[in-house]
């Protein structure tokens, strides 16, 4: 079933009786050419691009809960490509280009909204750093970076507290092509696209074992029986440690909780995404009208999918500092996602020492914007056995020697620094 304006009109006039489920609910087959463990954004996009770009359609996505029930449904929906490091900048640039064509490609309304992201700066040093970042974005080919000076920002973002005595706004880096997308719809769009190409999406199917014989993967044990496959991709974000343990591996990953908040629906007040780095806080307004905002990690290991009050207090304080009128809005909900934190703050996409077993993890707190390119490159890795050129640096063994670290923030390569 293709979606179109005409179809919406027709269904609207005929009682909406013609809509059908977006994907099948198949039982697992005894064997597939490839299995992807994890039915979140990255797993579903991996399946989609394996089918679309590499012609692999006898594949399955195994999800222990329901599709899109993890971090792809628990984030702040921001899409951007304002990275600096060789490797990261190409990867996120590619991802943003895929986002721009996503809805046409998937025939699915992901509510992609390139409303622009503005990173505020509050000191001379920070201004220089962000102008440099903008120049790096231009050098990489993303020519939408522009530095806005205080008088421009006062016109563009009149609702901010521009003259706060501690954090006066010195300007901001405007990344025009950045923005937001409807998080659930991205997962559903990829799921539907993969399903239409013959991929089996198998829910309520938890992997309980990984079958390995003489260093070669043979398949997986699941709560719905054993399934054979020559290629298995592990794409489970915060749960990577437990899954890899089934293959006898210990990973350079520590799982942390990151909180986010949304207010009641309000009339339109914010046109863009605004980040307040010095206050560890960022905010945008959803299409429903809620102000969606978040801050830093809680900074302790957690799988609880909820955080503690000190971080909430810190984020609220930062919000009040940036835009005092937010104090009149009521917080409707808060939630936490489980972040797969790597030592250097960048992701890992690589083969493992076990033949046919592939790893996709370490997205830290930036996995949502990576969904399209992660799947694109993971599919390339699983289909060809070789890293895609833009993820060639994101190796599992880079921590061992310290050579080729992907330390975007230059804070070091140890846990608990990012």
């Amino acid at each position: 079933m293709r979606f179109s304006a005409l179809r919406v009109l027709k269904e609207g006039l005929t009682g909406n009786k013609g809509w059908t489920p977006h994907w099948r609910d198949p039982a697992p087959k005894p064997e597939y050419d490839a299995i992807i463990i994890g039915g979140g954004g990255h797993g579903l996009s991996t399946a989609y691009y394996l089918a679309k770009n590499h012609g692999m359609t006898n594949i399955a996505v195994l999800e222990k809960g329901y599709l899109g029930g993890g971090n792809v449904g628990r984030n702040t929906t921001i899409v951007r490509a304002n990275y600096m490091m060789e490797g990261n900048s190409q990867f996120y640039s590619h991802s943003l280009k895929l986002w721009e064509g996503l809805e046409q490609d998937l025939n699915y309304n992901a509510m992609m909204s390139q409303r622009g992201i503005i990173n505020l700066v509050h000191s001379d040093g920070q201004r220089d750093a962000f102008i440099r970042r903008g120049n790096m974005m231009h050098a990489q080919g993303d020519t939408d970076a522009e530095f806005l000076f205080p008088e421009q920002l006062k016109k563009k973002l009149p609702y901010l507290n521009h003259d706060n005595i501690r954090f006066p706004i010195y300007g901001g880096l405007y990344h025009k092509r950045g923005g937001t997308a409807r998080h659930d719809a991205v997962a559903w769009g990829y799921a539907r696209g993969a399903d239409q190409r013959g991929v089996d999406l198998i829910q309520n199917c938890e992997v309980t074992g990984i079958d390995i014989v003489d260093g070669v993967v043979k398949g997986v044990q699941t709560t719905r029986g054993a399934i054979k496959a020559k290629k298995v991709g592990m794409v489970v974000a915060g749960r990577s440690g437990q899954l890899a343990a089934l293959a006898g591996m210990r990973l350079p990953i520590e799982s942390h909780v990151l909180q986010a908040f949304v207010t009641e629906g309000l009339k339109p007040v914010m046109d863009n995404v605004v980040t307040f780095g010095m206050g560890h806080m960022y905010i945008s307004q959803s299409d429903k009208g809620g102000l969606v905002f978040g801050g830093d990690l809680d900074f302790y290991a957690s799988y609880a999918q909820r955080g503690n009050l000190p971080t909430k207090e810190h984020v609220m304080e930062a919000a009040m500092c940036l835009m005092p009128q937010i104090g009149k809005a009521r917080v409707l909900r808060s939630w936490g996602g489980i972040m797969d934190m790597s030592p250097d703050g960048s992701f890992i996409m690589d083969k493992t020492h076990i033949d046919g077993l592939f790893l996709n993890t370490g997205w830290c707190y930036g996995g949502f914007k990576a969904v399209p390119a992660s799947g694109y490159c993971m599919a390339h890795l699983m289909a060809t056995g070789q890293s895609h050129e833009i993820t060639a640096r994101h190796r599992l063994n880079r921590f061992e020697t310290g050579r080729g670290l992907m330390d975007e923030e230059a804070t070091g390569s140890q846990h608990n620094l990012h």
Partner: protein, 94 residues
């Protein structure tokens, strides 16, 4: 979360900062080699459930503590001074 410091009593978690898994106390010998040090510095069990981890009571007595905590519920099961913890007397297995 509130943490019961063995020296200061029950205190707000904001007085403490988190360092990571308590294996940091049990480091390999200098001769242990590349693989052992890489494993010690970077790889983690990362359990969902009870785990032992290092916290620093920076706004209190400045003690290093080993806190046993459940990562799925945030329940704190026990707290001891790092110097008393078994991890500080053993060498990481290579």
């Amino acid at each position: 979360m509130r943490i019961v410091c063995p020296l200061c009593g029950e205190r707000d978690s904001r007085e403490f900062s988190y360092k990571g898994a308590a294996l940091a106390l049990a480091y390999p010998s200098e001769e242990a080699g590349f693989e052992a040090w890489d494993d010690y510095l970077h790889n983690r069990d990362n359990p969902a459930g009870p785990t032992r981890e290092l916290w620093y009571h920076g706004s209190g007595c400045t003690s290093w503590l080993v806190v046993t905590r459940n990562t799925t519920t945030h329940e704190i099961l026990s707290v001891e001074l790092a110097e008393d913890a078994p991890e500080s007397r053993q060498e990481a297995s290579a």
